[in-house]
């Protein structure tokens, strides 16, 4: 199985763990992730305005490359998944956006949403299959009580993302079960962590994350897992954050026995300096 892979900006820097574990796990599962060449950042949030075109082009570029390679496009980060799927839907179903975006792009042949976009979790569920995954687990995480934290971007709007039941999702729970751990279902797992608001409204985000943590702990979770670097950041900032938060790929790598191999040299990259530089440039 060979896929086009769109890592996204954060997986190059702060969330390099999410990426490294994913690649190691994919390799262990016989999945080849072929990185999109010269990908550009998806923008982190989907531009909601119906007249937004330029902000969607980086996604179109990646989607078109996958189309040309006749591959499914896989994302690891919730936000990239969200933006990519929605832009793809625009290209497929919104004639105005499709026409205008194609006018900008000057592609060999117009892109009309042909590429299939999947989050890596969907690949595990729909392509690999959780039953198959279970068979490949070498170090089951037996006894671990893990709460899935979905947040918003994986689930909503459910009609477009077609990821899982937006109000009572189960894909990560099934994943947790497949790697031998015990999923803890708690009602706040699809509530927002605050998202980008945490840049300027730190308190607001903190309150939200505390609610989530409390709920998860109340139902017996010992660890939380997420697919989103921003969720991870916000949850970790929660003052009463008593639960560790890890990427789902880390759990996967551990279960597949490839974790040690990638406890990596990249650990400890300090992103702040680079970000500051980038900001100065912009």
């Amino acid at each position: 199985m060979k896929y086009s892979y769109y890592p996204g900006c954060t997986l190059r820097t702060k969330a390099i763990d999410l990426d490294v574990y994913a690649r190691a796990s994919a390799a262990a599962l016989g999945i080849e992730l072929e990185e999109i060449s010269d990908w550009q950042c998806c923008g982190g949030v989907y531009p909601l305005g119906t007249d937004e075109i330029a902000t969607k082009l980086s996604c179109v570029r990646a989607l078109n490359e996958a189309k040309e390679k006749e591959q499914t496009l896989v994302t690891m980060c919730s936000a990239c998944h969200h933006v990519m799927k929605r832009v793809n839907d625009d290209m497929r179903n919104v004639e105005d956006i499709r026409t205008r975006a194609n006018n900008y792009m000057e592609l060999k042949e117009p892109y009309a949403g042909e590429t299939e976009v999947l989050h890596f979790l969907e690949v595990l569920r729909d392509k690999v299959g959780f039953d198959e995954l279970k068979k490949k687990v070498v170090k089951p995480l037996t006894g671990k009580k893990i709460g899935a934290y979905y947040g918003c971007l994986l689930l909503r709007p459910s009609k477009l993302l077609a990821f899982d039941n937006p109000e009572n999702p189960r894909i990560i729970e099934d994943f947790i079960r497949a790697i031998g751990a015990e999923p803890v279902v708690y009602p706040y797992r699809n509530e927002c962590c605050g998202g980008y608001i945490s840049l300027k409204e730190k308190e607001l985000s903190k309150n939200m994350c505390e609610k989530i943590m409390e709920s998860a702990r109340g139902f017996g979770a010992e660890t939380l897992t997420t697919a989103c670097p921003l969720c991870l950041y916000n949850l970790n900032k929660s003052a009463k954050a008593s639960l560790p938060v890890v990427y789902f790929t880390e759990l996967l790598a551990e279960a597949l026995g490839v974790l040690e191999g990638c406890r990596n040299e990249n650990a400890g990259v300090s992103g702040a300096e680079e970000i500051k530089e980038e900001v100065q440039k912009s």
């Binding site: 689930l155 927002c192 840049l199």
Partner: protein
Amino acid sequence: MSSEKKQAELIKEISGVNPLKCMKCGKCSASCPSYNEMDIKPHQFVSYVINEDIESLVNSKSLWKCLSCFACVERCPRDVKPGKLIDAARQIVVRQKGQNYLLADEIPELLDPELPQQLLVSAFRRYRR
């Protein structure tokens, strides 16, 4: 057309939302995680657009409290999608020159060592032109 009317039309156009479909059930406000931070509540956005009171809307701090978490969009029984209206109002503000809610100068002090790239680009896109 008055400028207020024009702006109301612009919001409807950018958002693709027909506010007249709203039946004022309040499910959006019941779902909003930022509700308490907002001066104009999600269900009220619709009325402001219908009444063409865009001035109040663009000056509302609610614009900057919305998380785009799409809970209101997901649950709205009438397909009104208040979150999209809010974003359209936000767009009207940030598309006017110099109206960015996030200034480059203030960024360094908002940063911390763990802060992910994604947060910054997301905030940039929602808050700036």
